[in-house]
Structures are given as structure tokens and as C-alpha cells.
């Protein structure tokens, strides 16, 4: 019954995605063989970016199942489809197993200088791989639960329910995401740590996913061309997610800047050398000032096309942020890292989008939840559902 939405998402982009993905993958394979030092930081960045879109979708889908609220219904399809891509993200993470000697202090043989005894233990390879496997298994279970609940809602015309399970799922999700950030991102600077880092990047994932979902909604033809309250809700939520990220990121910087302890401030000093010095001011503008100013205005956030523009800007900002967090940790990274990083971004993005599109189509045959009568009063009783 929703055939219109099935065809309106500019149909012929599945094959280009696949082709771009395969071509990119070929470039990546070449890079991994010829210049692993230049290649792997780029690949890790691209992987974390797309992982963020998928994981963030899962997290927000769980959050919406817990709290309800009108904002979530209009993007629940892209969010659930995004959550369903976690198996492919697992596959895309497998090449990273080859990267350990290049990327991580614990991956090589001469690692014993920069890690303390606890980190030696925490990063024992079997333990490290075991954790990675656990993360993916649990995320898969959660994404299975989210998509089953979504389908059940559509088939039986109920919206909401299962809030208690969603709450537990969200807790597990958040914990595992935090530790995944420690394992895969924070560890690029051996020895450095910050207690908010897990929450900061998990919130970044949420920004990526919500921005992506807003863009998909815009192109799926579900959105009105006139300003409407539903779109405005999405704009407000995007603003809220992004401000939380800004809040975490600024607090971390501010506290480390104020204390100025050598064990902490190296992270920022390293990231303000050379060209990287431009990254943080750029982030302040494109991740905070511009989206903030735009999303304050109702004329922007209630307008699907303009909101999608802001969301695209935020996705670009996410990529800049992840690049800035990961790549400067590597002295071996150089100009070719940008080339390989772009290739990896296209490769992973193409493959991921291909799978996302397949999952999204599967969900399209179900009714749109906003048409169901019980969704109407959702805003009034969103905490009711447990």
C-alpha cells in the first residue's frame, strides 16, 4: 500500500552504490598491500564513520521505543533499516584484523614500551577479539529485537510497547558502545584516556545516524514540501543530539586545557600541529555554530529540504571530527592517507548504502505508523508505555 514510497527514493542508486563500493574496495586492497601505514588510518576512520551511522540508528531506535514521542515515528523506518545493517558492519570490520600491527600499540611486537600492565592485560589479543565479537553479537541481537518490534507494530497496528526491554537494551547498547570506543578509537593514542570519551563518540554516532535518517526521509518523498510540525520535531531533536555532543566535546577540551597535565594534553597538542591546527576551529564552525544557528530558526528546521541540508553539513562535520580524532595519532600517515581514506569512505559507504537500501525496501511494504490512530496520542503519554 505504500508503493509510492518504494519508488520515490530515486530508484537507480543501488547499482551505482555497489559499483562504487567494489571499485573503492579494489583501491583499498591495493593500499593495504602497498602502503599499509598510510592506508589503515584512513580505513579505520571510514569504518568508524559508517559504524556510527548504523550503531547510532540502533541506539536511537531503542531510545524511541523506550520513550515514544512524535519525533521518532517519521524516521523509524530509516532508523530500523540502519540498525539492521549491523551484520554488514561486522563484515566490514574484519579487514581491520590485518591492521593491528599498524594501528595499535598492542598489535605489534615492540608494544611493551608504551602500555602499562593493565593495558597489556586489557589488550591481550584473545580478549580484544573476544570483546569485539561480543559487541557485534549483542548489537545484532538488539537490532533483531528492534526490527521485530517494528514489524509487529506495523502488522498489528500497535505502536510502542516493550519499553522495559528497550530500556535494558539501551543500557547494554550504551555500555558496549562506550567500550568499543575505548577499544577501537581511544586506543589509537596508547596510554591516553578520558572518562567521557566513550559517551562523546557514542553521542557522535547518534548525530550521524539521526542526520542520515533525516536525509533519507527527505528523499523518500514522505516529507511535505511545506514546513510542518513533524519536520520541526526532527530538527529540534537533531539540535538536541548535536548540542549534547558539543557539550561533551567542549567539556573534555576545557577540563584538559584547564588542568594542563602532560599525560592528557598531548592528545590536543598532537592534534594542533601543522595542518591539523585548522581542524578544531573548523569543527567549532561546522559542528556547532552554523548548525546551531540554523536549527534555532523555525524557517529552517520545519522545512524538510533545508533540514536535510543541515543534516548533510553535520554528516560532513562528523567525518572531519573522526578524521581529527584518529589520523593525527599516526606519524606514518601522510598525504596518501587522504586518498586511501576517501577510497575507503566510498568503498564502505557504497557497500553499506547498498545493504541499507535493501533493508529499507523490505520495511517499505509495511504501513506507515503515523497513519495509525494510536500514534496520535503518543506525544501525550510517551512515558506511559512500560
Amino acid at each position: 500500500m505504500t508503493d509510492s514510497s518504494r519508488t520515490s527514493l530515486a530508484a537507480p542508486w543501488k547499482t551505482p552504490c555497489l559499483i562504487a563500493g567494489l571499485v573503492g574496495a579494489a583501491v583499498c586492497a591495493a593500499g593495504a598491500l602497498i602502503q599499509p601505514g598510510q592506508f589503515w588510518p584512513g580505513y579505520l576512520t571510514a569504518f568508524v564513520f559508517w559504524l556510527g551511522v548504523g550503531l547510532g540508528s540502533l541506539g536511537i531506535a531503542l531510545l524511541h521505543r523506550l520513550t515514544g514521542g512524535r519525533w521518532g515515528w517519521s524516521v523509524s523506518r530509516p532508523l530500523v533499516a540502519g540498525a539492521e545493517t549491523i551484520p554488514v558492519l561486522f563484515l566490514l570490520s574484519l579487514p581491520l584484523a590485518l591492521s593491528l600491527p599498524t594501528l595499535y600499540a598492542f598489535g605489534g611486537d615492540d608494544s611493551h614500551s608504551s602500555l602499562n600492565a593493565q593495558q597489556e592485560l586489557y589488550f591481550l589479543l584473545p580478549f580484544f577479539f573476544g570483546r569485539a565479537a561480543l559487541y557485534f553479537v549483542v548489537w545484532n541481537i538488539l537490532s533483531f529485537g528492534v526490527s521485530r518490534a517494528y514489524k509487529r507494530d506495523r502488522e498489528h497496528g500497535v505502536t510502542g510497547g516493550g519499553a522495559r526491554r528497550a530500556a535494558l537494551g539501551l543500557i547494554v547498547f550504551w555500555l558496549l558502545a562506550s567500550f568499543a570506543v575505548f577499544d577501537w578509537i581511544m586506543s589509537v593514542d596508547p596510554g591516553w584516556y578520558s572518562t567521557i570519551y566513550g559517551a562523546q563518540h557514542t553521542m557522535g554516532f547518534a548525530v550521524s545516524a539521526f542526520a542520515f535518517a533525516i536525509i533519507v526521509r527527505h528523499f523518500s518523498g514522505r516529507a511535505a514540501s511545506e514546513p510542518d510540525a513533524r519536520t520541526q520535531d526532527l530538527g529540534s531533536m537533531l539540535l538536541a543530539f548535536n548540542l549534547l555532543w558539543v557539550y561533551f566535546a567542549f567539556s573534555q577540551f576545557f577540563l584538559i586545557w584547564s588542568a594542563d597535565l602532560p599525560i592528557e594534553n598531548t592528545w590536543y597538542l598532537r592534534r594542533s600541529e601543522g595542518l591539523w591546527a585548522a581542524a578544531a576551529p573548523t569543527l567549532a564552525v561546522v559542528h556547532f555554530v552554523v548548525p546551531f544557528a540554523l536549527l534555532l530558526s523555525q524557517d529552517v528546521k520545519a522545512h524538510s529540504r533545508r533540514l536535510a541540508g543541515v543534516a548533510a553539513l553535520l554528516l560532513a562535520a562528523r567525518l572531519i571530527d573522526l578524521t581529527w580524532c584518529i589520523v593525527p595519532a599516526y606519524d606514518v600517515a601522510g598525504a596518501m592517507t587522504a586518498v586511501y581514506g576517501l577510497a575507503a569512505f566510498i568503498a564502505l559507504g557504497g557497500l553499506w548504502l547498498f545493504v541499507f537500501r535493501l533493508r529499507w525496501e523490505k520495511l517499505a511494504i509495511l504501513a506507515d505508523p503515523v497513519m495509525l490512530p494510536s500514534a496520535k496520542r503518543d506525544s501525550a503519554d510517551s512515558l506511559e508505555a512500560v
Binding site: 514521542g69 602499562n116 600492565a117 593493565q118 593495558q119 586489557y122 500497535v158 510502542g160 510497547g161 522495559r164 530500556a167 543500557i171 550504551w174 555500555l175 562506550s178 575505548f182 596510554g191 584516556y193 578520558s194 572518562t195 567521557i196 570519551y197 566513550g198 559517551a199 529540534s236 548540542l243 557539550y247 561533551f248 567539556s251 573534555q252 576545557f254 577540563l255 584538559i256 584547564s258 588542568a259 597535565l261 599525560i263 490512530p373 494510536s374 496520535k376 496520542r377 506525544s379 501525550a380 503519554d381 510517551s382 512515558l383 506511559e384 508505555a385 512500560v386
Partner: protein
Amino acid sequence: MTDTHVQSDPSTEPRQTVRSVSQQISAIVLTEGPPRGWWAGFLVSFLLVMLLLVSVGWLFAKGVGIWGINQPVGWGFAIVNFVWWIGIGHAGTLISAILLLFRQEWRTSINRFAEAMTLFAVACAGLFPLLHMGRPQFFFWFIPYPSTTGMWPQFRSPLIWDFFAVGTYATVSLMFWYVGLIPDLATLRDRSRTGRGRIIYGFLAMGWRGSARHWKRYQSAYLLLAGLATPLVISVHTIVSYDFAISILPGWHATVFPPYFVAGAIYSGFAMVLTLSIPLRAVYRLQNFVTDRHLDNMAKVMLASGLVVAYGYLMEHFLAWYGGHQLEEFMLLNRMFGPYAWSYWALIGCNILIPQLLWFKSVRARPLPLFFIAIVINIGMWLERYVIVVTSLHRDFLPSSWGMYEPTFWDWSTYLGTIGLFAALLFLFIRLLPMISIFEMRELVHEHEHSGGASAEAGTS
């Protein structure tokens, strides 16, 4: 959705009308004499206010030496109580502002009361840094003004940030509360039967008539205030956390502090709202306004914010282990097994373990267990600040400068005194002003009358 406690009407019992709402709520202030419990409660809190006056008078006479603070623990009760009170205040703003922005109608019957709680808690909180300064008569040196000394405040100091944060918070909370009161003051003006009441409420209502254009601007201003109060409330406790976290002291310097302090503030604030509203609704028979559903929702918010606090603890502990930093490790071991271990384990019990009972619907549905859990959380959040302040300070870098902290009688009497001040102000508030927003209740009741059977029908879904 299968539970039987869901009522057809989101916030009130269905039989209310626009007229009955106006009558029932304004009657508490205008016609009914205070119940006996009010007098008893007010008397006790008034005595505690007297205790506060004595304690503060003695402090002014003798100086901060009457407290237990000394090297190395220079912060003691004053800062613990400051953070505790200001945290409690935050729930009021959250209920008013954030739930308004999220269109959570159930907030309507508790927001006024919670806002008043915010004001009084901030008043209690603001006392402590002033008293702790040693020379409170010079508090105005915080204010940037061209003085004859030619000096200016030190804007790189968290003490100045606190001054601006708490000052802004108190001002904005007061305005938010007062703006919310204006239409209700007009109702009291028009319903009051005494000339004195008409004059006082009439003066405060500023000639409010409820014209359509006025309402439109009013609603716009109120929403904008809510939009401003939301980041404000987060910033206030963030700045309080900066007081600790910009230092280099193990146990204070952690980047997770800002969000985890904010969550802790919400946690203790909702606990305080429950602690107060459960007895109040019983005494004033307000079960039809503050329904079981309100208690249930507040319990859920409490559970969620408590879990964020637990996440903060987990991150601190894990990364102290992971970082392998000797001072960080020692700080945590000292907390867990040092001389103040009792406070650490009591904190874990009060803040993390016992509140897990809130997962059960049957616990959330009963006011009595909920009341006790809320009190436990209040204690737990006080202990959290005690642990952070005292155990971090009492054994720092040099073992030769270690020491112990022991609160004195005056520490306790000042603390109890502020509890009395808080309670006395609340008693006066419920006696003199409508503790539930009348006009928002009218609006809610009207909407449900207007939507006809829709609400009843939706309740069965």
C-alpha cells in the same frame, strides 16, 4: 500498555471541569484554613530556621573555625551542602522547562510546586559559599564593578563562574516561576473575598486580564523561557562540576564529571519532588491532580538518571584502572577501603543498588515504598558529594600532609537549619500561592472536554 493503572486522562481524573479546577485549587489558598499537619510542620521548620540563625550568627562572630574544616580538607560540609541543594533545585526547572518542550502534559500538576522547590533550594544552596568565604561581608567583590581599588574579578576562577551561574539560575528561576504565576494571581485576585487579598494578589497580578493577544505573547515568552532554562540548568551543574574537575586532584579531575553531575542533580531533584509530593498529596487530598501516574513517571525519570550516575562511577573506576596512574588508583582504593569506606559503600547502596527496585511496576505503584526509596536517594546523593569532597581531599599527594575530617555540631546545625529554611518557605508557599498551576489545569481539562470521547477511547488502546 497492558497495565491497569493507565487512566483515560493523561493528567487528571476525568470528572474535573474548568470551574471545579479553579475552585478546588484556589480554595486551598483562599478559604480553607491550613490543616493541623501544616501547623505542626511549619512549627518544626520554623524552629530549625531559628537554629540556622543561631549557627550563622555564631559563625559571623567566630569565623569558619567553628566548622570541622582545616588542612587538608578545606571544603567540608559547606561545599557538600551547596552541591546537594543546588542539585535538588534542578528537578524543578527540568519538570517545568524540558517536559514543557517535550509536550509532556503530565508535568502540569507538579511544575508549579517543583519550581517553588527550585527557588528555595537555590536559596539554601547560595548561603553556603557565602558563609564559607570567611568574610561574607565582602561577597560583592564577585560583582564586576569599577571599584576604588582598581581591581576586577578573576574570570579564570570557578568561584566567579559559580557566582554568575547561581545568580543567573536564581534570577531566571524566579522569573520563570513568577511569569507562570501571573494568570493564577489574577484568578486569586478575582476570587478572593477579602479586601486585603484582592489588593495583594491584584498588585502581584499586574492587571492581567487574559486577553487573546496577551495569551499569545505570554505563551511565546513562556516557551522561550523554557528554551533558555533548559541549557541553563545543565550549565549550572556543569559549572559546579568544573569547580572540581578543572583542578588536578585525583577524584576531582575527570572529564566525565559534567554530564554525570547533571544526571546526579536530576536524580536527587526528582527524589526530592517525590519526597515532598507524596505526603502533600495525601494531606491535601490532591490524588486527582498528582495521580499515581505522576509518581510512576517521576520514578522512571529517577531510575534513568540514576543509571547515568552509575555509568559515571563505572567510567571513573574503569579508567582509573586502565590508566594505571598511581594517584588515581590510590584515590579509588582509599575510597573503597580507607577510613571513609563506610561513606563509599553507603553511597553505592543508596544510589545504585536500592533504586534498582524501581524497575518493578509494583514498587512504583505504591506511594510508601516510593517515598522511602526517594529518601534513600536523597541521602545517597548527599553521600556522593561527601565522598567526592572529603575522601579526595583528606589524602592527597603527600602522605605527610594527610589528615581526617570531622564535622562539628555547627556543621550539622547549619545543614539542618537550611533544611528548616527550605521546609518553612515551602509551607508558606503552599499556604499563600496555588501549588498547582490553575490555568494550565483549566487548559488541560478544557482540551479533554473538547476532544469528547477521544481520550476515553484512546485509553483502551
